[in-house]
């Protein structure tokens, strides 16, 4: 097994584990205000792994890698703002 194949397997396992974590929060009704931030951070990690290793943008010029990373950062940050901003 080559190094890159092993890395991809690890990435897949991490993605599956983070998905199980997210589902567990919802299924067991553990989701609470602070945990939403944790959930959004793990979602960012999952997205980052897909961008870098599945889309294979890690070895491409930064500007092309930055576009989806910025998209993910802005979207998840604004979701956090919508969730945490006090409602009048």
């Amino acid at each position: 097994m080559t190094k890159i194949t092993r890395t991809l397997e690890y990435i897949w396992i991490v993605l599956i584990m983070l998905t199980i974590f997210a589902y567990s929060l919802g299924y067991f009704k553990y989701i609470s205000t602070p945990l939403v931030a944790v959930l959004l951070i793990t979602t960012f990690l999952k997205g980052q792994l897909v961008i870098d290793y599945f889309m294979d943008l890690k070895k491409v010029r930064l500007k092309y890698r930055l576009i989806p990373i910025l998209w993910l950062t802005i979207v998840l940050s604004l979701i956090a703002v919508a969730y945490y901003l006090p409602i009048d």
Partner: protein, 199 residues
């Protein structure tokens, strides 16, 4: 004085046109995601109550399926990229195997989604039921259509591998399809916690 040499590739994998499409999809889905998130603020109780009708388990299983299919597509791309003149048949055969697994995952996703939709629509829910279901239907049906299109693209690539259509140093076509499929995966990775989990 030594000059630093960039080892980074100049362009992302696949045809540059697919990346323009991907960026447009990012903007479209971002608007829908944020529309959902900020509309939720207007009536949190309604969103939380309506969300109970949505099956978290099918969302979870579909996330696992899409991530796994993306992994299979990466394996297929690697088979083609690592091809030499001597391994042309082997590499195409291996890529077709991984693509078939990915297509089956796509079909599994579609099947689960159809069951979920039939349950939701069977309850008489539609776009005008309330704001939660308007966003839920728009987001998930729009994404569902992308999965169908992505599966179709993977099938075309699969057919090409079956006739040993990919040659050494000819991975652009498969990379183009793969990039689209990974985008579909990435969008679902954001959609799943937003619509199914966060309350």
């Amino acid at each position: 004085m030594s000059k630093s040499i960039s080892l980074k590739e100049a362009y992302p994998p696949g045809d540059l046109a697919i990346w323009v499409i991907i960026y447009v999809e990012f903007i479209t889905f971002a608007l829908l995601f944020l529309g959902y998130a900020f509309s939720r603020r207007l009536d949190v109780e309604l969103f939380n109550a309506s969300q109970l009708a949505v099956n978290q388990t099918s969302g979870f299983v579909n996330t696992i399926i899409l991530i796994t299919s993306s992994y299979f597509v990466v394996k297929a791309v690697h088979s083609i990229k690592n091809m030499t003149a001597d391994t042309l048949q082997e590499s195409n055969k291996e890529a077709s195997k991984w693509l078939l697994f990915a297509i089956l995952c796509g079909l599994a996703f579609v099947t689960i989604k159809i069951i979920e939709f039939s349950h939701i629509f069977g309850m008489g829910i539609n776009l005008s039921t309330n704001r939660f279901f308007m966003f839920y239907i728009m987001l998930t049906v729009f994404h569902f259509l992308h999965v169908i299109l992505g599966s179709g693209i993977l099938f075309l690539i699969y057919k090409k591998t079956k006739i040993n259509g990919y040659l050494p140093n000819d991975s652009k076509g498969i990379e183009t399809g793969a990039s689209y499929w990974h985008m579909v995966d990435l969008l679902w990775i954001v959609l799943f916690p937003l619509v199914y989990i966060i309350r």
